[in-house]
Amino acid sequence: MKSVENFKIILLGSQAVGKTSLLEKYVKNTFTIKYKATIGVDFLSKCIDLDNTKYSLQIWDTAGQEAFQSLSTHFYRGSDACVIVFDITSSKTFDSVSNWIDEIQFHIGYDRKIPMLVIGNKLDLNEKRVVNSQKAKQWCEEHGIMYYECSAMTGQNIEEAFINLVKAIDVFNKENPRQFNPSFHLKRQNPKKNMCLCKN
C-alpha cells in the first residue's frame, strides 16, 4: 500500500512578484497576464507521486496580506516548508528575500529550521533581468537554501523546483520527526480527506 504524506507549504514574497501566478500555473496550469492583487485564494492542493509515495501538497498563498504586513503566526504555523518568490526584473524584491527569511524565523522561532526554497520568477523576461543569477544562487547556497529560476508564464522549472522541495522536506522530516498530537475538528465529515483531489 502506498502511503500519503501531507505537506503544508507557504508561499511568500513581496507584492506582485507572481506568487499566485506561480501557484496557479503549478496546480492548475493556467496563467493570466493581468495583475490582480490576490483576493479569494486560500490554498491550492496538488498531489504528486514520487518513489512510491503519494504527496499531497497544500500550498498556501498569502491572500494579499503581505501588503499590510498583517500576516499572522497562524499562517506560518505547522508549515513544512517555505517558498520565497522574488522577481528577477526587480532588485528590490530580491533584497526583500532576507527580510522574509527573518520574518519566517520570527514566526516559527529562531531556534527552529524548516526547508526553504527561493524562486526567481519571471524568467520569460530574461532580457530585462537585473538580478544576477550566479549571485543569487551563491547567496542562497551560503544560507543553505535551494534556489531555482522559474517562469509562471511558460511553466519552466516550476515542476522541478517543487519536486526537489518535496524531496528536501522528506529528508528533513526523517531527521526531525514530527510529533503526533491527537485532536478533533468541529467539522465532522473528514475534512482532510476532501482536500486531496487525486484519484487513486
Binding site: 498583517s70 497562524h74 527552529r112
Partner: protein, 447 residues
C-alpha cells in the same frame, strides 16, 4: 486608505474578529485596524517574550524556561462550551474550521466545604475547603456512581432522555410543561449528589434547573446527549489559544477581500453633524464607512460605557512534570463563600496538549472580581493551590459596560471581557450586533 467601506472595525479582539469574519463572508467590504503590532487587542495569545515585555518592559524571562515561540499564552483564556451559542457561531463559520483545531479541557473541579472529604476528592490542606472532582462527560460519570442501585437509576434517567418523545415513555407520567429538571431527576429517585453530578454533566445553571423545563429543553438535552461532540468533554479550548481563532478569522477576511492593518495609527472615529458615524481618521487618511465597531480603547469620550467592576487576573507559569499528557488541562471553581468572599475565583489551566506551553510546563490563569484594596492578595488562595509557580504576571482590568441598543450613532462599542470563564456573553453580543447591522438572524434554525 481613503476609501469607502461597509463597516470599519477597530480592534482585533475575539468579538471584533468574529464579527468581521461574519460580515466578510456576507460579502461586505471591511476594514480592520489595530493599533498594536499583534492580533488580539486586550486578549491576545502571546509568546513568553512578549508576555514578559508587556508586564516587565525591557527585561527577559528566566533563562531556564524553554524558547519563546513554544508558548502561546492567552492573556484572557476562555473556554468554549459545547453546543452553546459561541460554539454554534464557530460551527457556522465553516471556513474557520478548516484551520482551527479544538481539544477538550479534561478536568473540572469545584470547591466543597471541609470537613467530610470523600474518597474521590483531592484535599488541599490549610484551607476551609477541598476540591472535588466532578464529572464532565457521561463516561467519567461512571467513576462517581457509588452503588449498583444508583447506577440503575442513572441508566433509567439517561434512557428516558435518550428516548424522550418515543412511544415507550408513556408509563412514567412526566409532564415537562409542569416540572423542573430537578423534579424529573427526583422521579428517578436519584440521590442529591447524583442530581448534582448530572447537572454538571449537562452544564446547566441554577435557573435552568429550577424553572419549568418544558418540552423544547428536553429535546435539546436529548440532542446534547446524542451529539457526537459530547465526547470527550463539555469544555473545549482551541489549540494555540484563542488568538489562533482570531488569526484564522483574519485570514478568512483576507480571502474574502477585506483589509486588515496592524500597527495602524488610528486617530479617532469621526461623526457628522447629526452625530452619526461617517468614518475613522488615521494619520494616513480618512476611511469612510456608515458603521464602526470598536472596542473600548478606541471609543470616543462619553461612549466608553460605565465602569461596573474591576477584575484581577494572574497568569502563572507552573513547572509540572506531567504536562503534555491527557491530564494537563482543567478548570477549577472556588466558591466565594468557601473562602469568605463574595465572588468566586476561577482557574483555567492549560498545557502542552493545547499547544499553550512546552512540555513540562502548565499555564494557569486565575481570575476574580476585586473586592479589596490589595487585589493581588485576593488570588493567594488560588496560587497556593497551584504549587510550583515559576513566573507570575498579575494585571488589573476595568470592566465597562455598554448598552448596545442605545447606539443610535451607528458606533458599536464591544464590551470588555468579564470574569466568566466562557464566551457566552461575547456570543450574545456578537449575535446582537450582527443582527442589528445586517438585519437578519445569525442562526437559521434559531436554536
Amino acid at each position: 486608505m481613503d476609501e469607502n467601506y461597509d463597516v470599519i472595525i477597530l480592534g482585533t479582539g475575539i468579538a471584533e474578529s468574529i464579527l468581521s469574519c461574519l460580515f466578510s463572508c456576507d460579502g461586505k467590504k471591511i476594514l480592520v485596524l489595530d493599533q498594536n503590532s499583534y492580533y488580539g487587542s486586550e486578549s491576545p495569545s502571546v509568546d513568553l517574550k512578549l508576555l514578559h515585555n508587556m508586564f516587565y518592559a525591557g527585561s527577559t524571562p528566566r533563562d531556564k524556561l524553554p524558547p519563546s515561540k513554544e508558548w502561546c499564552i492567552d492573556l484572557i483564556p476562555k473556554l468554549i462550551l459545547i453546543n452553546k451559542k459561541f460554539f454554534k457561531i464557530l460551527q457556522s463559520l465553516n471556513r474557520l474550521n478548516d484551520f482551527q483545531i479544538y481539544k477538550s479541557v479534561n478536568h473540572h473541579y469545584i470547591s466543597q466545604r471541609n470537613p467530610q472529604p470523600s474518597k474521590k476528592s483531592e484535599i488541599s490542606p490549610n484551607q476551609g475547603f477541598y476540591l472535588q472532582k466532578i464529572p464532565n462527560t457521561i463516561e467519567t460519570l461512571g467513576e462517581y456512581i457509588v452503588n449498583q442501585e444508583e447506577n440503575e437509576k442513572f441508566k433509567n434517567f439517561f434512557y428516558y432522555i435518550q428516548n424522550y418523545k418515543t412511544s415507550k415513555q408513556e408509563a412514567l407520567k412526566i409532564d415537562p410543561e409542569r416540572s423542573t429538571f430537578i423534579d424529573i431527576l427526583k422521579i428517578f429517585g436519584l440521590s442529591e449528589s447524583g442530581i448534582y453530578n448530572i447537572i454538571c454533566v449537562f452544564s446547566l445553571d441554577k435557573e435552568q434547573c429550577e424553572t419549568v423545563i418544558g418540552d423544547w429543553a428536553l429535546i435539546k438535552l436529548q440532542q446534547q446527549l446524542n451529539s457526537p461532540y459530547l465526547m470527550p468533554s463539555f469544555r473545549l479550548y482551541p489549540n494555540y489559544g484563542l488568538g489562533n481563532i482570531i488569526e484564522s478569522c483574519t485570514r478568512i477576511n483576507a480571502i474574502f477581500g477585506s483589509t486588515t492593518i496592524l500597527s495602524a495609527e488610528v486617530d479617532k472615529v469621526i461623526f457628522n453633524d447629526e452625530n452619526k458615524v461617517i468614518g475613522v481618521r488615521t494619520y494616513h487618511g480618512i476611511a469612510q464607512a456608515p458603521i464602526v465597531i470598536c472596542n473600548r480603547s478606541y471609543a470616543p469620550k462619553g461612549k466608553k460605557g460605565r465602569l461596573v467592576k474591576r477584575i484581577v487576573r494572574s497568569i502563572c507559569i507552573i513547572e509540572d512534570r506531567d504536562s503534555g499528557n491527557y491530564n494537563d488541562s482543567g478548570y477549577i471553581y472556588i466558591k466565594g463563600n468557601h473562602i469568605n468572599r463574595e465572588n468566586s475565583i476561577q482557574i483555567i489551566y492549560l498545557g502542552a496538549s493545547h499547544c499553550v506551553s512546552p512540555e513540562g510546563y502548565i499555564v494557569a490563569c486565575c481570575s476574580t472580581v476585586v473586592e479589596t484594596d490589595s487585589p493581588e492578595k485576593e488570588l493567594q488562595v488560588a496560587h497556593d493551590l497551584l504549587g510550583n509557580i515559576v513566573n507570575q504576571y498579575v494585571k488589573l482590568y476595568e470592566i465597562y459596560e455598554n448598552d448596545l441598543t442605545l447606539s443610535d450613532s451607528n458606533l458599536y462599542v464591544v464590551n470588555d471581557f468579564d470574569e466568566i470563564p466562557d464566551l457566552e456573553n461575547t456570543a450574545e453580543e456578537i449575535q446582537k450586533i450582527y443582527e442589528i447591522i445586517s438585519k437578519k438572524s445569525l442562526f437559521v434554525d434559531n436554536i
